[in-house]
């Protein structure tokens, strides 16, 4: 058996099996449990890199579950794909890399942060990763729904992890109900499409798409559900509750889960509906983007809770991604020359958002760990005791606010320029919001880290510092060498978005 042939399945299977193994090992030894979870995730990360390399070198990868050949998408006795198909193009590979990388760093952080009920925690943690990976690798709409549910249920349980604070249970309840209603919309739209085409495979539906009224109803349902899960304003209100109440590492790993929903949104628009997409959709995405930026940044400014503040900043960052992708989608439908640049800016910012806001959440988690305090009004002078954490916060601050030479600046400048081509007003709003974002983070830095020593505390443990330093190093590297990242990671994802024909061909043109 050549392991390379089974990479897509292994990337999902390893964390899935480890998830169910973890509570058993936990009964024997906590150290052994941590070691097994770390080895499993490190192995998944290596396999994900191999998979990404394979996709970038050899094009779209197909993996058919239960077939005699893993590439036989259409069974001999059938005319359409009926088995579970994993389809990995540049976009999927890009998303998988983000999800596994952030989960690995979150895991290292959690070794110090999570002290109680670790067996359950890591089971849920790994299941959340499995859900994300499944959403990003599947070529099948129904499996997308299943993995969306897996992600939501695991995430809700993790949000409520510190259940002794009542607010965590409230946040988790809101999250699971909102997620369930969103998932219901997704399931209903899948039912509509299945009723019309007798198909569940995304490539097959894209090929059969006739843009009927039923298709448009399904589009609105899918679009609004994934926009909700992505945290797009004005449907974002669940996000500060969920991100704000989850443990530090989970707040960070929740970012790729919203990114996975954004991935699903883009997959629906660019691949399934592609050129038959209604012209109103790019405009709606742009409006969502602007609202997210404006509401996110202005609401962040008045927050008192450190994690809620960063959560609203995360909403604003989602807005930048949606703005760029909306402009890119508009260009895609109208064959505009700035399309690739806008999509490049959006995808690059998606990666940067996960890193920058992720680092800020880890720092916030570290501050709460060290002081037991979340209120900005009660903190002060932490730089005296937490020197490394303070410097790492500055790196995250500069990156999220889009200060040069950080990665956030590189992606935002691409967004500003491409968005300017559609309307200079959009660019002006985006730039002003970015300046406000800087003001928001300066508020945290001034209130929490500078000034006289108001709170007695010690620096966070080494595993927490290690994952923060790794994130900061990636931020600085991406900032100093943005062209390298764009060429090797972002552009293949953008090409995959644009070239929906290849996605369809990979399933419908292979195997008989």
């Amino acid at each position: 058996m050549n392991i390379m042939d089974h990479l897509p399945a292994l990337v999902i299977a390893i964390p899935l099996l480890t998830a169910f193994l973890t509570p058993l090992i936990d009964r024997v030894s906590r150290k052994a449990r941590n070691a097994v979870v770390f080895i499993a995730l490190a192995l998944t990360f290596i396999l994900a890199i191999l998979l990404v390399q394979d996709v970038f070198d050899n094009g779209i990868q197909i993996y058919v579950m239960g077939a005699s050949s893993t590439t036989q998408t259409i069974p001999t006795q059938a005319a359409v794909p009926i088995r579970i198909v994993l389809e990995i193009d540049g976009l999927s590979a890009f998303m998988v890399l983000i999800s596994v990388l952030i989960s690995l760093l979150g895991l290292i952080y959690s070794f110090s942060d999570i002290k109680e009920r670790g067996g359950r925690f890591y089971t849920l943690f790994l299941l959340m990763l499995v859900g994300m990976l499944g959403m990003e690798l599947t070529g099948d709409l129904f499996n997308l729904f299943v993995f969306l549910e897996v992600t939501s249920i695991a995430a809700a349980a993790l949000i409520a992890y510190e259940f002794r604070r009542g607010s965590t249970s409230e946040a988790a309840l809101k999250y699971i109900i909102i997620s369930s209603i969103g998932a219901l919309f997704v399931l209903f739209s899948i039912g509509l499409l299945y009723g019309e085409y007798d198909l569940l495979n995304m490539a097959a539906i894209a090929q059969a798409m006739q843009s009927t009224h039923i298709d448009k109803i399904a589009l609105v349902l899918l679009f609004s559900a994934f926009a909700l899960k992505a945290g797009a304003a004005p449907m974002h209100m669940w996000l500060p509750d969920a991100y704000g109440e989850a443990p530090g590492a989970i707040s960070m790993v929740l970012i790729p889960t919203t990114a996975a929903s954004m991935y699903a949104l883009f997959r629906v628009c660019f691949t399934i509906y592609n050129e038959s997409l209604h012209a109103i959709i790019p405009a709606v995405i742009i409006i969502f983007g602007l609202l997210s930026i404006f509401i996110g940044v202005t609401m962040a400014l008045v927050q008192d809770d450190i994690k809620r503040l960063i959560s609203f900043a995360a909403v604003a960052e989602v807005g930048y991604i949606l703005l760029a992708m909306g402009v890119g989608l508009y260009g895609f439908l109208n064959s505009e020359e700035y399309t690739v640049t806008a999509l490049r800016g959006g995808m690059f910012h998606l990666f940067n958002d996960v890193l920058d806001i992720g680092l800020l959440f880890l720092v916030a988690g570290g501050v709460i760990y060290a002081t037991g305090e979340r209120s900005l009004n009660k903190l002060g002078g932490l730089a005296h005791s937490m020197k490394y954490t303070s410097v790492l916060f500055l790196v995250g601050l500069a990156a999220a606010a889009g200060l040069p030479p950080m990665n956030g600046f590189a992606s935002k400048i691409i967004i500003y320029e491409s968005v300017y081509k559609v309307s200079p007003i959009l660019s002006i709003i985006a730039i002003l919001a970015s300046i406000m974002m800087l003001a928001v983070f300066i508020k945290i830095f001034q209130a929490v880290f500078t000034g006289p020593k108001l709170t007695e505390c010690r620096e966070v443990p080494k595993p927490m510092l290690a994952s923060m330093i790794a994130l900061a190093a990636l931020i600085i590297f991406f900032g100093l060498f943005p062209d390298m990242v764009i060429e090797h990671l972002v552009d293949p994802a953008v090409n995959a978005l644009m070239n929906y024909g290849a996605y369809i061909q990979a399933v419908m043109g292979v195997g008989t």
Partner: protein, 115 residues
């Protein structure tokens, strides 16, 4: 020398040039600082003068987070009042916004179809 250039629509962005410029500026700043007076005192001379009033403790003077940007939030009071209503924390409101937005997209999409 342009090392790692990111081409954009309007030109290019090279972070390494910025880093190089920052290093040059830092060196110049250090040279200027080093040329300063060496007899500068850090004790009594460095204390702030409040017209003879004793300086409050540093802890008492620390500007708390809620005091920052007070003027900005006061000027946008109307906006923030409506935003607080929107972020009520009530699950019913959250679902209402979601269903309302989905319905609005439906209406706009099908009105455009008809027109």
């Amino acid at each position: 020398m342009i090392l790692m250039m990111l081409k954009t629509i309007g030109g290019f962005w090279d972070p390494l040039i910025l880093v190089l410029a920052a290093i040059v500026v830092a060196i110049i700043a250090y040279i200027i600082r080093a040329a300063g007076r060496r007899n500068h005192k850090t004790g009594e001379q460095a204390k702030p003068f409040f017209s003879g009033v004793a300086e409050p403790s540093k802890e008492a003077m620390h500007v708390r987070a809620s005091n920052l940007y007070w003027g900005f939030t006061e000027a946008l009071k109307g906006y923030y009042t409506s935003m607080k209503k929107m972020h009520s924390g009530m699950l019913n409101d959250y679902i209402g916004w979601f269903v309302g937005i989905a319905a609005l997209i439906f209406v706009v999409l099908f009105v455009m179809e008809v027109l």
